[in-house]
Symmetry: C2
């Protein structure tokens, strides 16, 4: 059974979610709430994670191995960190039923698209990236509203079938996201700026602030600005490492752009060049675009 | 009449707020709601601002000049940008009634404390800084809850009387803030890290992201991380310029710390040194302290 384009998945359709952390747990929660006619299956490494997902009614059934669950799923979603996805892809693709479709929720897409093209059943595989997240992680942070209003980027490879694009697009829309098609390399270059660079800036800022202010003083002597600009630094380090290591060149280019921008700012302030400072800050203010 | 230490100001006590933007407007709104027995007076440069504050019932009475309002106020609060405060201080202090107290809400304190010490009536003057804000500005963004739970730093100069410290401390507590005493130079060094550096980082990031992503694409191809880390870049540029120009040296030191941190991050990624990257990001994660 395959979903048609639209926001309602067919009755009896089954979705297997591999990895029950923030993203996988949220997808399961959203499907259970918004698409009650769908059967949601879960795969996790730890037995307690499967038990907890069953107890919370996020999944109908679950298991510890891909082979226990994937052959029964119309659509399989790998919701693990990027390098785990790369490791799981060959086995996952080979376990798909004939009509099955495989996608993922990883934050970098070039390496995954290439691996899908070179692996088994490439016509049934489509790399995807819902652009949403939280600094909290794990199943406890799962949120059925996480995908609502988010862009869910689809990066078809040279081998991806239109049927796979339709299936993953329907999944995205079924939980309230907008499905957008994009080239994997273009996606990676853009998220290097809009997502990975902000994370690194947030981490560096968190360290720079800590060097000048005693730990105990920070909560009383900071305000919402510090809290918001360092929020991303609280993210999951192993997950971020996978992202950084699979998108190095675009991220290094973004880092160097940022260093140039920050250097221009330092020079203007060091020279007390108020005119240059004002122009710089006005451009920054107008550059910001939020939805 | 003078407020005693505590959270309730005396009946009939009058507070003049000079500058009816976000901070001044929020203070007036908080006093009107939480201390209805207090008479709130307003001073603004533009007649429409005074009219709007009267219409919104944020003030009981208002005027366009310091001399029209301050002689009748028990406590005067300068809520203008830092360099405007520096310009207003001598006249404002000389207009205080004999028992009057003068304070301010500016974000840098060394220049203001020094100006207060050297100006008229230094024993009646106390520099202050409530650590709260928003990226929106102007009277329309006024929020009676802005000060609730915030730290309100008081920086007594060598000449400030204990009576002035009590009066401003009572004002802070009367709108839900915590009054903390701190040396002005120490305050400026700390906020250079916790507030001014995050603003500059946010501005540089906003520009660096914009250089790699088309304006129209940004809302769809970014998520909460970009929105939060660039939020401060949307701040009021003239107000921020005053802050930067009156706290240059501590901010330059903070900028250089940030450049060092960011350079270490770039080196680890350029060398694919995963061990160093992981250690760096873990330290960043643990460095973050929020209230």
């Amino acid at each position: 059974m395959h979903p048609e384009s639209g926001s309602v998945l067919p009755a009896g359709y089954s979705v297997a979610v591999v990895g029950l952390g923030l993203m996988g747990g949220s997808l399961a929660a959203a499907l259970r709430r918004d698409q009650p006619q769908v059967r949601v299956l879960g795969v996790a490494r730890r037995e307690e994670a499967v038990a907890e997902a069953l107890r919370s009614d996020l999944i109908h059934d679950g298991g510890l191995t891909l082979s226990a669950i994937l052959p029964a799923a119309d659509l399989t979603v790998l919701a693990t960190p990027v390098r785990t996805i790369l490791g799981q892809l060959p086995e996952a693709a080979s376990l798909l039923p004939p009509h099955g479709v495989l996608t993922d929720l990883g934050s970098t897409k070039q390496a995954i698209t290439t691996a899908m093209e070179r692996g088994p059943r490439p016509e049934r595989c489509l790399a995807g990236h819902p652009m949403c997240g939280k600094e909290r992680h794990g199943l406890c942070a799962a949120d059925a509203d996480l995908f609502r209003g988010a862009s869910w980027i689809l990066c078809p490879g040279r081998t991806t079938s239109p049927e796979a694009v339709r299936a993953v697009g329907s999944l995205a829309r079924s939980v309230g996201a907008r499905a957008l098609i994009m080239d994997a390399a273009e996606h990676d270059a853009i998220v290097a700026r809009t997502s990975h660079l902000p994370y690194l800036v947030s981490a560096a800022l968190s360290r720079a602030v800590a060097k000048g202010v005693a730990d105990g003083d920070l909560p009383a002597l900071s305000a919402g600005g510090y809290r918001d600009t360092t929020r991303l630094a609280a993210g999951d380090v192993p997950m971020m490492l996978d992202i950084l290591m699979t998108n190095r060149e675009p991220i290094l280019a973004a880092i160097r752009e940022m260093q140039g921008e920050f250097g221009r700012l330092e020079a203007a302030l060091a020279q007390s060049d108020e005119h240059a400072l004002a122009a710089y800050l006005e451009t920054a203010r107008r550059s910001r675009r939020v939805g």
